[in-house]
Symmetry: C2
Subunit: 366 residues, 2 copies
Amino acid sequence: MAPRKKPETPPAARTSVSMADLARELGVSMTTISRALSDHYSIGPEMKSKVLKLAKKYNYQPNRLASALRKGKSKLLGIIVPYIEGRFFPSVVHGIETAASRAGYNVIICQSNEDAAQERRNVEALLSAQVAGIMVSLSRTTTSYQHFDKVQSRGLPLVFFDRSVEGENVNAVVLNDQEGALISTRHLLQQGCRRIAHLAGPQHLNIYKNRRQGYLDALREVGLPVEEELLVYTDMTQDEGAAAMRHWLALPNPPDGIFSGGDYCALGAMQEAARQGVRVPDDVAITGFSNEAFTVITEPTITTIDQRCEEMGQATVRLLLELIEASGTPFTPRQIVLRPELLIRDSSLRDARKTAGRRAAKAATR
Amino acid sequence: MAPRKKPETPPAARTSVSMADLARELGVSMTTISRALSDHYSIGPEMKSKVLKLAKKYNYQPNRLASALRKGKSKLLGIIVPYIEGRFFPSVVHGIETAASRAGYNVIICQSNEDAAQERRNVEALLSAQVAGIMVSLSRTTTSYQHFDKVQSRGLPLVFFDRSVEGENVNAVVLNDQEGALISTRHLLQQGCRRIAHLAGPQHLNIYKNRRQGYLDALREVGLPVEEELLVYTDMTQDEGAAAMRHWLALPNPPDGIFSGGDYCALGAMQEAARQGVRVPDDVAITGFSNEAFTVITEPTITTIDQRCEEMGQATVRLLLELIEASGTPFTPRQIVLRPELLIRDSSLRDARKTAGRRAAKAATR
DNA sequence: TTGTATGCGTTATCAG
DNA sequence: CTGATAACGCATACAA
């Protein structure tokens, strides 16, 4: 194209205002504008205020694309989760977005749908979008990690949360499931339970394996034997919880406490107990895991383990930002392990006084 | 700076590979590379495959920032929601992300925290990020809409979902709350209820106003009178539902059906009925609104209205993409009204046969 | 069919 | 304290 004069469109007609427009208007150079807007020390106060006023007048919005392109650093973070549904992931994403936004970053969110191939595409999309860092909770079907090596080799900060790859070589934020199971089972022991059953989940998933281990640890601590008939393996559904309860209640010596690896399963057990006229917590105390929303609306309310979703999100962002700032300098990977919180409610509390007043459920908002 | 030769860093050491690198390697121009990668017709097949192979070898990822800057059109969409929690918004966001990703877009998600000022900042951040379009569900505290005018005047496509500004002048996707209330109340009538009460929500919120109106419509249809004692105004909490139920059960002539504007409130009423030995649905049938997750795990399960969260997300993206493609050409704003779905469950079904087999609750996944 | 040159909006470098 | 200018990586109008 033959070099012609700039189009000279008047600002009013343009869709957006650039620094060049402001510079022309004020009769100064773009450099001055750029510096004034980023509060550079070399610009005089009166010039600064003039520029700022004009920027406001014309409703100037910096083009972060251009800035990022020039600086090689964007203000975007990427998140990859299996899906945005249920209680857990939305809460973590909530925590992430809140923390990121406070630090001046925006987040791009991707779903892998538990599909490794999709996850790989997500990574490429985020690389393409030139994000400053990536946070991932692995898909269930991910077995190869080359797409993440690619991220690392580009020097892009990467933090796993909740579902992480094993090992000391990655940055990760996870919950201590084993400890959660431990304190939950300890609590049952403290309530006087001596025959404690466990609703276990699929043992090929780490979270359920660890929860079972915590349960075993607690029994060992007080020298109680592990009775096979008190250990039932399920897929953590409500129905399987009920079925397990039927099995246990038919035993000559039924359990007086149940630690479930999940809330839905605990609920099923509790409902079955009610159907059979078995009192909870007096005849059998029950605890769940995950702090699902429904655990506060059942009668009795269900004792459970909170997974610190929001803290997980915050910690993930904090770690990622640290990596971004330390960019270039060597950084030994870090794993942050969050401590689960036992929420004691009525389903396990044999004390005379129950938890003080049922918490008013939030209004159904939308 | 005196114009010097390019640094000539070998590709291997660079953090990312650019078209220029590929061009140098193949001894062709960037134009050729660019065209080959975007499958331009003017490039020969053998050249194309050569370029593609090299791109794969060097793991070339296009820089979408640069592309967007050049073309003035990014592949990013912005979402603004009050928060990412509960059932509704995560589900809609899920639908949005899925549809957007299918169309080759990524989404940036922002939370307003029900704060108008924050919402305004969200808009500016998205403008700055040069998104191709914006989807918004309004914050509760938003009363001025200038920040959205700004979006429109920039020619940026804008679609509201669920919580929209009134009027024919905006693009919006909403649920027909009034119809939902109507079919729910009709269903109660069909079950033989003749004294139907309503748990109403705050009437300054459109959704609750419309639900109340649908309830009134249904009564009018069959010539039933509106009895003031059967209309209770609440904030839609569980406790208020229980309180209302106490009030109604103390009446000389209690209602035989209840349409609640929200699931939590319906739950409270149902639990109070159980405490007082009143049978649901036989003595009093109950329906809720929103299809909260817990409505399938209570006993009895709760009849409710599904808000089509995912469809709402999909429809929102479809409309937005239409606007983006029609960019420039005049486009008369459109409002899409989704039809709510009545989910008939045990709390309202007086038929001999109940809903076939309780649906197995999903495992607590994370 | 391929190459050359230019600009998108911003910032960094250098020179005043 | 301020200005001129060259990039960042890509896409296109135009020339060949």
